[in-house]
Amino acid sequence: MARPRRSHIATDCFLHILLLMVVVAFAFPIVWTVLTSLKTPLQTFAIPPVWIFRPTLVNYRSVFEQQPFARYLLNSIIIALGSTGLALGVGVPASYAFSALKFRGRETFLIATIGLRMLPPIALVVPLYSIVRSLGLLDTHLALVLIYAMFNAPFVIWMLKGFFDEIPEDVRHSALVDGCSHVRVLWRIVVPLAAPGLFATAVFTFILSWNDFIFALFFTTTKATTLPVAVSGFITEEGVRWGNVGSGGAIILLPVIAFTLLVQKYLVRGMTAGAVKG
């Protein structure tokens, strides 16, 4: 939105400097974490801080050697992928129903689904703990897959509904008139047409599961531990292992940053699914 204004060079300069400062403030902690991950312990604690140094991968090696970090990484990937698949599996037909079908209680169900997204996860942790325990699912991948899929299903439904709503009604109608069933219309027409939206939704759901800490913290002990819980374990009685926090943190953030760049143009929809119409 370039508004015609008599802008002075001085104001322009000032605004750019101000923006530069903002960018530094936003980016700096991330850069610092990555730098820390590449330092030796001595350099990590140096005051004044070391800015220029020969990077070492010692912290990356040690997280994988001192701990089953590779397994935690694999756990995180399996659980995030599994729950994303399940959330989409249940979310796609539900979104189709909300978007294309008329039925009693439609509005009520829709509103209830937004409401569910507003619940604080901690309120679910205690009762879920008892349920997961009685099912014998504590410290299993399956428990987290099911819980994340449940927790993210409302998000998936709302975000996908936005994409499904964009497909012209005529496209669906002519297929139905030609004798296609709704299942076929969904599978053969709606899903392919909304593919970019589906992909963006999947990426967001993956990040949501990947980032979760609270459920993984209480429902896993050793076997199904995910990365966020593993790095929080670097806070020890003797102090925090900052080098490992840096390398572990960088490993966790890498896919998050890559995926965010990938779905950048859908960020507004992803962050406000349910709040803003489609």
């Binding site: 939105m1 508004r3 015609p4 605004l15 750019h16 923006l19 903002v22 960018v23 936003f26 902690p29 991330i30 610092w32 974490t33 604690f45 005051i47 801080p49 249940v90 037909p93 539900a94 129903a97 039925f103 439609r106 937004i114 409401g115 507003m118 619940l119 604080p120 901690i122 309120a123 679910l124 942790v125 205690v126 009762p127 349920i131 099911l146 899929a149 927790f151 299903a153 439904i157 709704h182 980032n211 800490f213 966020p228 819980v229 929080s232 806070i235 925090v240 926090v245 943190g249 966790i252 998050v256 965010t260 950048q264 960020l267 507004v268 962050m271 406000t272 709040a275 803003v276 119409k277």
Partner: protein, 292 residues
């Protein structure tokens, strides 16, 4: 009714069934169970099962538990201050970014990253920055002759550090929403205002602000709901300490359940929290429904 009609009628529900089955089993059932637990005494280390005690837990929450009130107060202060700061910073940065042209895409991307980042990692990153001995913040302050501050260890300052950490991560969200709206504002309105002789300040106040109203609501409400439930960042920054100075409601519930194993009481406190959230969401849904 023919069987074909019947099929048409139940079809939507079969489409909804998988999602709702999952939600009922893993969300509604636990909520009901926790509602029941709230009226029982169930301490894992002492009792074999929940014992019904009526509203005893709720009486304790409201009348005998100063820590609950303190935790509520801390959570409200945290929510109010961080959401206000995020709102102002977000609006300011979005307006700035809207006027600047140099390297816009790269800048935009950088500004949007923090909100997507894993909260635990953000908390740990900042724990290092806030560290009183090895942290960069005290070092930088030292350069301008400010003595070291116990950012996370002093009960007076810890909440400030937690708030600033949250502001760093979530101002991003406000930037995103405001920027998205600013970019679709009708340009001709501003041209008309300019021709009519409106000053920049006037067109900001009488055009931009009203046009941003919806975006403002979204930022305020979504951020309020998420700030109110803060857990991850606090857990790794301070774990509610020092001297309970950063004890958010989520941390408090967790502590009752997993440190004292008092499931009955923690269920009661979480239900109070739930009711507060539902009340807030209700207001929110009403406002958005009116807007539509």
């Amino acid at each position: 009714m023919t069987s074909a009609m019947w099929k048409q009628k139940i079809l939507p529900y079969t489409f909804l069934f998988p999602a709702f089955a999952l939600i009922v089993i893993f969300l509604l059932l636990p909520l009901l169970y926790s509602f029941y637990l709230g009226f029982t005494s169930f301490i894992l280390t002492r009792h074999l099962g929940p014992k019904f005690i009526g509203v005893r837990n709720y009486v304790s929450v409201f009348f005998e538990d100063p820590l609950f009130w303190r935790s509520l107060e801390i959570t409200l202060i945290f929510t109010l201050v961080s959401v206000t700061l995020e709102f102002c910073i977000g609006l300011g940065v979005a307006l700035l970014l809207d006027r600047v042209t140099l390297g816009k895409r790269l800048v935009r991307t950088t500004l949007l990253l923090p909100m997507m980042m894993t909260p635990v990692v953000v908390g740990l990153m900042w724990r290092f920055l806030w560290d009183s001995r090895f942290g960069l913040i005290n070092y930088l302050l030292g350069l301008i002759a400010i003595p070291p501050v116990q950012w996370l260890a002093s009960p007076k300052v810890a909440l400030v550090s937690v708030i600033l950490t949250d502001v760093w991560q979530n101002s991003s969200f406000a930037v995103l929403i405001f920027l998205a709206t600013l970019q679709v504002l009708p340009e001709d309105l501003y041209e008309a205002a300019d021709i009519d002789g409106a000053s920049a300040a006037q067109s900001f106040w009488y055009l931009t602000i009203p046009l941003l109203k919806r975006a403002m609501l979204i930022v305020l409400v979504i951020r309020t709901l998420f700030a109110f439930r803060i857990f991850d960042t606090v857990y790794v920054l301070t774990d509610g300490g020092p001297a309970d100075a950063t004890l958010s409601l989520s941390i408090y519930v967790q502590r009752i359940a997993f440190r004292y194993f008092d499931l009955g009481y923690s269920a009661a406190v979480s239900w109070v929290m739930l009711v507060l959230c539902v009340a807030l969401s209700y207001v929110y849904i009403r406002i958005l429904a009116e807007e539509r």
